[in-house]
Symmetry: D2
Subunit: 355 residues, 4 copies
């Protein structure tokens, strides 16, 4: 059953395989009369694309956005925004060795079991290239939310064993000053070393991204199933390589007592602490929304691995191509995009709750 | 906007407030011709209800299921299954002191901000009493999945700082032998002591529930947004007091290298390790599905707390009533129910992918 | 797949079979803070129920609404409104002769083909008794719309060959003054005669209901698929026994030329004629919305009919019970209810189109 | 709110304005492993396009389909099928005179009221050019249904006052032998004369399309709201210029008595008559599905019309451009496409009703 749409009132549907003609999508339900900054969408796409520096994949993808509909004289018309991003700079020949192979911890095996057929070129639909469409839609959502006073701070909190222990809102400048999007320069440096060391081994690393959102009004989230953090969690877990999601105190709340964990109110309605992560009972409370997303280490190694093919025969899979040692820095705009889609969708949903 | 439905093909919609006339729901899309065991539904409800022993709330709720439609001569007819559970044994007078108070880390403040009105009796719709309907529907889903060879093992993995370090499938007997649904007797005892100690302090504890599902066929999950683990994550995060979700290696994957984390295939298609937690690329791979859910400590304390009322005035909130020190053992059937709803929905969705 | 929900933001889900324990439903997404008049809901239910006079079925059903949730101190809270209507005054024994029979132009055959099982008592889920839940939800929608200035005029336009040739808005008084809900007394009388004559023959009649809605603001309807009249059409066609739907000029437009059919504008934006029926390009234009719904003659006859049973054997079906000669007058509140559900849903949807 | 998607399991989402960069869409939920004949899609598009002969618009649009994803080595992969059709041969300058005008019985006024902004070039999103995407998706659905034994016969039944009085299944050859897609040569000739006469007057005509579908298995349709004919009705009413829908006996049933109208069963389960139009209780019964769709006369005239502009001033609108006198023949592939989308969606939905 169809699973390529996200959102209810601000709804993104996407298509595209890694080596197909193009990626693309439709944003349906975008409010009308909004001036969109296309250059800003392109800037967000550029944060995601490979080839940014020697710490990430050196593949070159231009990832140029083309808007096909829904804009008139620079403004949204309320009709669906269609867009494509062409697939270039890919050589399909690169992937013929994967035609029958099931790469470990990739989706080759499961796609073939599910559909009985598989586009093996570069992972096909299961490739993280798909997320390029999320960044486009998320960038549009973010522009709208910015006008409403909502601001995002999304950054790398951990790579491998190296961690930034902070939950605060860092400015874009501080984040983008780091090649790895970790706003603490000294920790960013340690992360760089870890990545270069791991790269030399032909191995890969995982990490954690943290997102802090300020300016979200109280009242967003639709109990009992479409709680704000539940939809944020689904949004994040739908991103390639994500293994876990937590908000506010998250898993660490387990070791706290209720008397430590409860967020006391100030008379303004703000809370003195924010273990709730900006969400109480599934509804935003006006405090910063804070969550973390765990990414597993990249499954594609530059080392040989034993695996099987679709006949069940053991084969040796050689590491080749230009792959990321660690995708986490490039996943920052994806996390932010999915957060923006979720928040804007709930913003519009809340408009229907009071006449 | 409507947020009280879960699922697409096997769809649960619920209603009910803690102190309203009754809780209830509709299951739409239940396949026809299935013999349902009502006693089994009641047994699952009994696992969730308060008053089971002195470790959980001593409130008495009978929680009797009444099926109103969708069954004929003991079998499902394919038409919607309506059901109610009456609200009894509640004294509304108990809650008059909450009329204007915003309890810390409860949803009083956010419901009032969202809707401009609030049923303050026992939390109203935000009460975990709502989950009684999830257990009913999940129990029905589980009965159907059992016939398809799917089995669940859901248990308490951690309470406060005391942890069971195992990811295996425990049998129901072993789980139910523990008052706390922790299948290791010695750890269960330590947990009991921790709860009783905390109860004496008037304080509360959180914990982690682990769910292991075997027999799920390969192929369930709908990329790119409705990935199996993304929908499981949303299902879990929608449960009251949940702060985090992870599957397979989860957050611990962050410190692993790709070469350690990749699950090698056996020639059968099974994997030697299961860091993937039974899901690759958002689609089940036939291995056990394994995930964990973090619950914060209960927000209602038996201690006095300072807070504010809806005029922004500081007030003192006294601890009273019969509340759980730790809800995690009673949340086991809820986690299992939401897992069953998610798996069955995806089982039906997968039927539409190949003619 | 689940088909028992209607609407997107104001969403009704229903359950119940003719001879089950009860009918019922959930309204999810009702805006908060609205005072509901329960007596008015009961009054709408009474318009639908059998036994009103000797022109319709003389079965007695009390059809008493019970609200189970979503209301607090007389106002909607924004949480789902659960409700039931008990099934009384039915004798299941009445229907044992239908256990194996496929009644002509009923749904016995198709339900059994679809589900492989059938609740044969009084038609089970396929009985028009199901519409009782639509009337409840529609009555609530209508109360909200009334506060927004929207008014409905729904009446019988035709029974058999006798027709009221008018498209105007008749007041409730004029409609309810007629036992048949036809606001022209002389035509109503002719219809009465036709029904009594047909009743004597043991035969049945169909008819047409017209609905005129004034006060709908311009801008409702969501192209390109969820056009306002498309959703109205689906709403009407989902009612038992409906065979056709047309709005504005409808089928008669086919014989008109464009120059006759185009609605010229007045400088106010109103149109001089209203062949558009209040909808242009799928969006309301502020003019009265006008549509008509065709009902086939009742399939249950008081005459014997030849038919088959579920073994393919020919059997004789005897006419018995207390059935309507013509359901059209009792369908008036159902048509109005479905119209109100559609209009309110689109009213809420339109709120999301401009920030 | 988003209204540009149709279907639940086989889901089409579309975008595009008449004079934007391109039209396009996504088909999500297409079963995998199906060989698609792209030439057949193009052939269906060609039936819809203007410029086919002197009886329809002489505008030239090449309407070339480009598939962007979801196909691999000629077969569907189960992933979303993205496609575009470029907008060519349009001169935006043609439409500057419409910038401020509200054309009578067009959607100019309502789009501006709804969205506060309007792409006035050629009607923008409200143009029937949008239906090009429906034809693409419908053609794919039809190819799948053909493999399942379902066949469509869609033809012009009436233009203006000239009518073909038949409800039978005509073969494609007979339909396509007529420039107007009316399978009776002598009636087709009368229709041609009527169109040419009307063209000379600068006026326009409406008509009725009939669709007969054979081979639909019993059991499709999801009561109580998503009845098969209700979804067919919505599908048809969502097409530009449609004013009415009826199935089986339709509006004419109103004048029949129940004893005349009931369809008697043969022992096979087939019915002797088919007033039900292949649907009983909202579920297909295995008989031919028969329905009719009424189209109003084209709103764009080659005559001058008085109207208003967006300042409320009266203006004279001159007839110019190359427009259809009667769109009904070109709407035949659109009606068939929407029927195929509806039937295939329900075919997949029915797969989820029995395990």
């Amino acid at each position: 059953m169809a699973g390529s749409s996200f959102g209810t009132l601000f709804k993104l549907s996407t298509f595209g395989e890694s080596h197909g003609v193009s990626m693309g999508g439709i944003i349906d339900g975008c409010p009308s009369g909004i001036s969109l900054d296309i250059a800003q969408i392109q800037a967000d796409l550029n944060k995601r694309k490979p080839g940014q520096n020697n710490l990430v994949s050196e593949r070159k993808e231009s990832d140029e956005i083309q808007i096909l509909s829904g804009l008139f004289e620079g403004k949204t018309t309320g009709t669906p925004i269609g867009f494509t991003i062409q697939n270039k700079d890919h050589l399909s020949a690169d992937y013929s060795h994967l035609k029958e192979a099931y790469r470990p911890s990739h989706a080759d095996f499961t796609y073939e079991k599910k559909y009985g057929i598989r586009d093996y070129r570069g992972g096909g639909r299961s490739s993280a290239r798909e997320t390029v469409c999320r960044v486009v839609a998320g960038s549009i959502a973010k522009q709208i939310l910015n006008k409403l006073g909502v601001q995002f701070s999304t950054y790398v909190k951990q790579i491998g064993g190296i961690e930034l222990s902070s939950n605060v809102f860092f400015k874009q400048d501080a984040i983008e000053a780091s090649l790895l999007r970790c706003p603490d320069p000294s920790i960013s440096e340690q992360m760089e070393s870890a990545i270069l060391e791991c790269k030399a081994e032909g191995d890969t690393l995982g990490g954690i991204i943290q997102c802090v959102i300020v300016g979200v009004p109280a009242g967003l989230g639709e109990p009992v199933f479409d709680k704000l953090h539940a939809d944020l969690g689904k949004a994040m877990l739908s991103i390639n390589a994500v293994k876990g999601f937590e908000y506010g105190s998250g898993f660490s709340s387990v070791k706290m007592k209720g008397s430590e964990h409860n967020d006391s109110f100030e008379s303004s309605g703000a809370t003195k602490t924010n273990f709730s992560g900006g969400v109480q009972g599934g509804i935003s409370n006006g405090m910063p929304i804070v969550f973390r997303v765990a990414f597993k280490p990249v499954a594609t190694l530059m080392k040989s691995q034993e695996t099987i093919n679709n006949k069940g025969e053991e084969i040796l899979l050689e590491g080749k191509g230009r792959h990321d040692v660690c995708v986490v820095p490039r996943a920052v705009p994806i996390v932010e995009a999915m957060a923006a889609l979720t928040i804007l969708d709930h913003y519009l949903r809340q408009k229907a709750n009071q006449l």
